[in-house]
C-alpha cells in the first residue's frame, strides 16, 4: 500500500472515530444532564392546599395506575402492557425507602415534567410526563403536598420490570426524551375564553388524554403533544383496544356530539347513545366521575373546538334506514346480518339505534367506526360493563360472545356492524379477531 493510501484510510477511520466520539459524548451529556425544573420563585410564598391536591390527583388519575388490584393506594405494582413488555407502576406513597418520602419538591417536578428520577434514571413514558409537563406549579405543589401528607406510607419495593434486557435499559430514554419530549408549560390562549383554556389545560395536561387517544409514531412517540395539528387526539391503539378519535369528524369522531353529551359521558359513564368501554371504564370510575361539573364542561368545550382529523383516514357515517328495511322485509341473509339478529338486536335493535341511555347505538358510534377495530372486536369477544357512577349506578353490561362464535363469525359480525345503518368503516378479518383473543 502506498503512503497516500494508508493516510486516506487512516483519515477515514479518524473521521468516523471522531464522529462516534462526538455522538457518544453528546449521548453521555444528554443522559447526564438534568434539565432545570424551572419552578417559579413566587411559589415559595404559596401555601400548599392538601385538599386541593387530592382533587388534582383525581384529575391526573394517579391512583389508578399507581395502585395494584387489591393493593394499598398509591403503592404501585400495577402492570401496564407496553409493546416492549409489562411496565410496573412505582410506589408514590411517602415511604422514605421505597416511595417518595425523601423527594424534594424539585425532585417531584423533575419526575412529573421531565421524566427524571432523583437518581438520574429516566422514567418509561408509560408515566405520561409528556402530558404532565404542562401542569402548573400551583397544581404540582398541592399534589405533592397531598401525596406526602394525606397518603398512608407503604413499604413496597418496586416490582421487577417485565421488559427484557437490553430493552429495559433506561439511559436510551434520555435520547428519546430529547427527540420527542416537549416540557413547555401550558400557555394560555388569550383569544379563547377561560372555560376553553381550562379545558385545554386539563386535556393536554393532568387528564393526559393524548396518552391513549393520540396516534404514535415508530418510536412510540405521540405524534402531537400540544394540540397544534389535526392529528392530536385523532385516535390511538392500546393492547386490545382502539381509543377513539376525539376530533370533530362526523363519522368516527365527536362531530355529532354536543358538549353536553361529552360531559355526561365523562360524569356518568354513559349518555343517551353511548357508553364507555375498555380502559375508559376505569378512567370514568377513578377520575372523571369525580371531576367538578365545571371541569367536565371545560373539557367538553375544548374537545368540541378541535377541527376534524384528515378525512381520508377516518370512517364516514350517513344515517340510513336501508338496513332496517331489509331486515323487516326478511331480506337480510348475510352471515353477519343473521348473527346480528340472533345475538345483538335484542338490545341494539334491528335499527342499530340501541335504547336511550341504556344500550348504545351502533349506527354512527365512534367505537364501531374507528379505523382500528380492536375495541369493537374486544367488546364482542369479552363483553363490556359501564362503570357504576353516582349519576348512573347500574353499570349496564354486555355479555361476551367469544365462546359462542369463531373468528370468522365474529369478523363477519363486526364487518356487518361497521358497514350498515349508514356506517362506512372497513371490513374486519378473522386474523384480526384471532389476535385479540386472550
Amino acid at each position: 500500500m502506498s503512503a497516500t493510501g494508508r493516510s486516506r484510510r487512516t483519515s477515514w477511520v479518524t473521521v468516523v472515530v471522531a464522529l462516534l466520539a462526538v455522538a457518544a459524548g453528546a449521548a453521555v451529556a444528554l443522559v447526564v444532564h438534568r434539565p432545570d425544573p424551572r419552578i417559579s420563585p413566587t411559589l415559595a410564598q404559596r401555601q400548599p392546599d392538601v385538599d386541593r391536591g387530592a382533587y388534582i390527583a383525581v384529575l391526573g388519575d394517579c391512583a389508578f395506575c399507581h395502585t395494584a388490584p387489591g393493593g394499598a393506594p398509591f403503592a404501585g405494582g400495577l402492570a401496564l402492557a407496553s409493546p416492549l413488555g409489562a411496565i410496573y407502576s412505582s410506589n408514590i406513597t411517602p415511604d422514605p425507602d421505597t416511595g417518595i418520602g425523601r423527594y424534594s419538591f424539585s425532585d417531584f417536578v423533575s419526575a412529573m415534567r421531565d421524566g427524571i428520577r432523583p437518581d438520574g434514571a429516566r422514567l418509561y413514558p408509560a408515566m405520561p410526563y409528556t402530558a404532565y409537563a404542562k401542569v402548573s406549579d400551583d397544581d404540582l405543589q398541592d399534589l405533592f403536598a397531598y401525596l406526602r401528607s394525606a397518603v398512608t406510607p407503604v413499604h413496597a419495593a418496586a416490582h421487577a420490570t417485565g421488559i427484557p434486557w437490553p430493552l429495559s435499559l433506561r439511559w436510551p430514554l434520555a435520547l428519546w426524551i430529547s427527540a420527542f419530549h416537549d416540557d413547555t408549560r401550558f400557555v394560555v390562549d388569550s383569544a379563547r375564553d377561560a372555560r376553553w383554556n381550562r379545558g385545554a389545560y386539563l386535556v393536554q395536561g393532568l387528564a393526559h388524554c393524548g396518552t391513549c387517544h393520540t396516534p404514535r409514531g415508530v418510536f412510540f412517540q405521540e405524534k402531537d403533544l400540544g394540540g397544534h395539528s389535526n392529528l392530536y387526539l385523532s385516535g390511538g391503539r392500546l393492547e386490545g383496544s382502539s381509543p377513539i378519535n376525539l376530533r370533530a369528524n362526523e363519522g368516527d369522531g365527536l362531530g355529532r356530539w354536543s358538549a353536553a353529551d361529552i360531559a355526561e359521558l365523562l360524569s356518568a359513564g354513559r349518555n343517551a347513545g353511548s357508553a364507555v368501554n375498555g380502559d375508559m371504564v376505569d378512567v370514568v370510575r377513578h377520575s372523571t366521575q369525580y371531576m367538578s361539573d365545571a371541569d367536565v364542561a371545560a373539557i367538553a368545550t375544548y374537545l368540541k373546538s378541535l377541527s376534524p382529523a384528515p378525512a381520508s383516514a377516518h370512517a364516514s357515517f350517513g344515517a340510513s334506514d336501508a338496513t332496517l328495511r331489509a331486515m323487516l322485509a326478511g331480506n337480510e341473509r348475510s352471515a353477519g346480518g343473521r348473527l346480528y339478529m340472533d345475538s345483538c338486536a335484542a338490545c341494539h335493535r334491528l335499527s342499530g339505534s340501541g335504547e336511550n341511555l341504556a344500550f348504545p347505538t351502533l349506527a354512527g358510534n365512534p367505537t364501531v367506526l374507528s379505523r382500528d377495530p380492536s375495541s369493537l372486536i374486544t367488546l364482542i369477544l369479552n363483553g363490556g360493563r359501564a362503570p357504576s357512577t353516582a349519576a348512573a349506578p347500574t353499570g349496564l353490561a354486555m355479555p361476551d360472545f367469544g365462546w359462542r362464535y369463531d373468528d370468522a363469525d365474529i369478523a363477519a359480525l363486526a364487518t356487518f356492524v361497521r358497514s350498515n345503518w349508514g356506517n362506512g368503516a372497513p371490513a374486519v378479518t378473522a386474523s384480526q379477531v384471532a389476535q385479540l383473543r386472550r
Binding site: A346, E355, P399
Partner: protein, 591 residues
C-alpha cells in the same frame, strides 16, 4: 360456635324484594345495615347472560333458580288428621333462593289490592250479613286502609318501572284503564306493553261480552327507564323466557335491576351470603330481640347482634323463624287460639288452553311475564255474591308468557300423546293456540294453618314447617263459577276446542303440579293482637324491635298476584320505621 360478629343497627334476614327495599330505605336513613342471605349473589351479567340463561331444561325443568329442597323444605298434609310428608320435588309452588329471591324468577304481574279486601270481614257483614260467612272461615280485617298504602303502591310501581294504564286518578275515571280500580295518585311510570295476539283476542271478546278489559300492569318495562334510585331498565322484547328465568335484558324488575346498583354503593350497607339464619335471638324477657344466629358457608354458627331485626325471607321461612324462635303464640286449630301459623292461604288458578283455527296466528314462542289483558268484573266483591253463595273472586286474564318445547306443548283433547300423530298435532296447533286463566282468592279457614312438623327436620336440624291446607267448599264452588266464565270467554275468542284444568268440588290440592307460588298468611297483620301476629306497621306485638315482611303478613288470601302488595307493605313499614320507630323505639300501637 364462632365468636359473635360486630353489632349492627339493622340485620335483615333474607335478601329478596322485601329485604332489598328495607335495606335501601334504612341505609338511606343513615343506619348501619347488614343483610344475611343463605344463597349466593347474582347479577344480570354474568348470571342471566344471553343466551346461556335461556335454558328450558336447566331453569324450567330442573329449577335452576329455586330452593334446594334437599337442604330445607316443608311438609304438607290436607288436614290435621293426615300425616304430613316432605315436599321433595318442586311442584305446586316455587320458592326461590339467593340474592333477589323470587324477584328474579317471577313473571312481573304487578297489581295492588282492592280496598274492600283489606276490610273484607266488615264489608261482607255490611253487604251480606253474618250468616253469609260459612263456619270455619276466618275472615278478618287487616287493620290498614288502602288510602294509607296508596303512596307506597305508587312508590313501588315507580321503582319497578311498571307498565300500565291508570283507570282512576284521584277519582277521575280514565278510558283504557281498569274501571274497578281504587283511585291512584298518578299514572303508571311507563305505558302498557304491546298486546300479544292472545291478549288482543281476549280484550275484544270480553268487550263484546260486556266486560271491561284493561292492560295488566306489568313489571316488564315497555320503554328504557331510569327509576327514582337512578337504576336503569331496558325495554322488554318479549323473548318468552320470563317466569322461571332471570331477565337477559334488564327489563324485568328485580332487586338486581331496580335497587341493588345503588344500594351496593352505600358504605353503610353490607351483605353476607351463604348465611343461613337459624333463629331470632331474644333476651331473657322474650320481649326484646338481640339479633340472630346463622350458619356460615363453613358450617359455623355465628351470632349477629343487632338493634333492629327484620324478617324479609320468603313467606315459609319467615313463619318458620317465628315458630322456631318462640316468638308469639303458635296457633292451635282445635282451640282456635294463638296467632303464629294462623290463616295460611294460597290461591286457586284455573287455566284453560284454547285451540284456534289455522287462520289465527299466535307465535307461542314470544311473550312476557306480565303482559296481558284482564277483567275484574268478577274480582273481590265487584259482583253480587248473594245468589252465588260463595265469598271471593279473582282476575280473569289472557296473557302470553312465551312457551317452548320443554315447558309444555298443550294439545286439544283427543290428540295422540306420542309418535307421528302427536307431532302432526303439535305442528297443527302450536302456533294457533293460547291460554286464559282465572286467578282466585283463597279464603282463610280454621283448619288451614302452619306449624312445626313433629317428625321431619332439615339439614341444619331445624324442624320443617308443616303446611295443613286443602281447598274448601267455598273456594271450589267459586272456581266452578269461574270455569263457566272461562268457557264463555274462550268460545267468544273463537276457540275450536278447549282443554285445561278447572278446580271443582271434590278436588284436593295436588302438590305435584304447578299451581302458584302465592302462598300467604301465617303472621297476619291486624288491629287485634288476639288474631294477628303483627300490628298495622308489621311490627311484632310481642317483640317491638322485630318487624316481619312478606306475604305471610296477609290476613287472608287476595285475588291478585301478591308482589305489588308485598312491596308496598315493605315500603310502608320502612317509612314508619324511619318516621316514628327510630325516633322513639317501642310499640307503635298500644292496645
Amino acid at each position: 360456635m364462632a365468636s359473635p360478629a360486630k353489632p349492627v343497627d339493622v340485620v335483615i334476614v333474607g335478601f329478596g324484594w322485601t329485604g332489598a327495599i328495607m335495606a335501601i330505605e334504612l341505609a338511606q336513613a343513615g343506619l348501619n345495615v347488614l343483610a344475611l342471605e343463605r344463597g349466593e349473589d347474582a347479577a344480570t351479567v354474568p348470571n342471566w347472560s344471553y343466551p346461556k340463561v335461556l335454558d328450558e331444561i336447566a331453569q324450567s325443568a330442573r329449577n335452576g333458580l329455586l330452593q334446594n329442597l334437599s337442604k330445607t323444605t316443608v311438609t304438607i298434609r290436607h288436614d290435621k288428621n293426615g300425616r304430613a310428608l316432605p315436599y321433595r320435588q318442586i311442584g305446586s309452588f316455587k320458592p326461590g333462593t339467593g340474592v333477589g329471591g323470587a324477584g328474579i324468577h317471577w313473571s312481573g304481574v304487578h297489581s295492588r289490592v282492592m280496598p274492600q279486601e283489606l276490610r273484607l270481614r266488615s264489608h261482607i257483614l255490611e253487604r251480606y250479613g253474618a250468616r253469609f260467612i260459612p263456619p270455619g272461615m276466618n275472615l278478618q280485617d287487616w287493620g290498614i286502609s288502602f288510602e294509607e298504602l296508596e303512596p307506597h303502591f305508587d312508590r313501588f310501581e315507580h321503582v319497578c318501572g311498571t307498565s300500565g294504564k291508570a283507570g282512576n286518578i284521584r277519582g277521575q275515571k280514565l278510558e283504557g284503564g281498569n274501571p274497578f280500580e281504587a283511585p291512584r295518585s298518578r299514572e303508571f311510570p311507563l305505558p302498557p306493553l304491546t298486546d300479544p295476539p292472545t291478549s288482543a283476542l281476549f280484550a275484544s271478546a270480553t268487550r263484546d261480552l260486556g266486560y271491561h278489559p284493561y292492560p295488566l300492569p306489568a313489571a316488564n318495562a315497555s320503554r328504557p327507564y331510569t327509576n327514582p334510585y337512578g337504576c336503569q331498565l331496558g325495554p322488554c322484547n318479549f323473548c318468552g323466557f320470563c317466569s322461571d328465568y332471570g331477565c337477559i335484558n334488564y327489563s324485568k324488575a328485580s332487586p338486581q335491576t331496580t335497587i341493588l346498583p345503588l344500594l351496593y354503593r352505600m358504605p353503610n350497607f353490607s351483605l353476607r351470603t351463604h348465611a343461613h339464619v337459624l333463629k331470632v335471638n331474644t333476651d331473657s324477657s322474650g320481649k326484646h330481640a338481640t339479633g340472630v344466629t346463622y350458619v356460615d358457608a363453613q358450617g359455623r354458627e355465628t351470632e349477629q347482634p343487632a338493634t333492629l331485626v327484620i324478617l324479609a325471607a320468603f313467606h315459609l321461612h319467615n313463619v318458620r323463624l317465628m315458630l322456631s324462635s318462640g316468638i308469639g303464640k303458635p296457633y292451635d286449630p282445635d282451640s282456635g287460639e294463638g296467632t303464629v301459623g294462623r290463616n295460611f292461604c294460597y290461591q286457586l288458578l284455573d287455566s284453560v288452553n284454547l285451540f284456534f283455527d289455522q287462520s289465527v296466528y299466535i307465535n307461542q314462542f314470544m311473550g312476557a311475564g306480565g303482559v296481558g289483558q284482564a277483567i275484574e268484573d268478577f274480582y273481590a266483591d265487584n259482583f253480587d255474591h248473594g245468589p252465588l253463595g260463595f265469598i271471593g273472586g279473582g282476575v280473569i286474564w289472557g296473557r302470553q308468557t312465551g312457551n317452548g318445547p320443554v315447558r309444555g306443548i298443550p294439545l286439544p283433547p283427543g290428540s295422540p300423546t306420542w309418535g307421528s300423530g302427536w307431532k302432526a298435532a303439535v305442528r297443527e296447533n302450536f302456533l294457533h293456540s293460547g291460554r286464559i286463566e282465572a286467578q282466585l282468592s283463597n279464603m282463610a279457614y280454621r283448619g288451614c294453618y302452619l306449624d312445626l312438623d313433629p317428625t321431619y327436620r332439615d339439614a341444619y336440624g331445624t324442624p320443617l314447617l308443616r303446611m295443613t291446607l286443602n281447598w274448601q267448599d267455598n273456594d271450589l264452588r267459586m272456581s266452578e263459577f269461574f270455569g263457566e266464565r272461562l268457557s264463555q270467554i274462550g268460545k267468544a275468542m273463537g276457540a275450536k276446542s278447549i282443554s285445561g284444568r278447572v278446580l271443582k268440588r271434590g278436588d284436593s290440592w295436588d302438590t305435584r303440579a304447578y299451581q302458584s307460588t302465592h302462598i300467604n298468611g301465617g303472621t297476619a297483620m291486624g288491629a287485634d293482637p288476639r288474631t294477628s301476629v303483627l300490628n298495622k306497621y308489621l311490627q311484632s306485638w310481642d317483640v317491638p324491635n322485630l318487624f316481619v315482611l312478606g306475604a305471610n303478613v296477609f290476613a287472608h288470601g287476595i285475588g291478585y298476584n301478591p308482589t305489588g302488595l308485598v312491596g308496598a307493605l315493605a315500603y310502608w313499614a320502612a317509612a314508619n320505621i324511619r318516621a316514628s320507630y327510630l325516633k322513639s323505639p317501642g310499640p307503635l300501637v298500644r292496645v
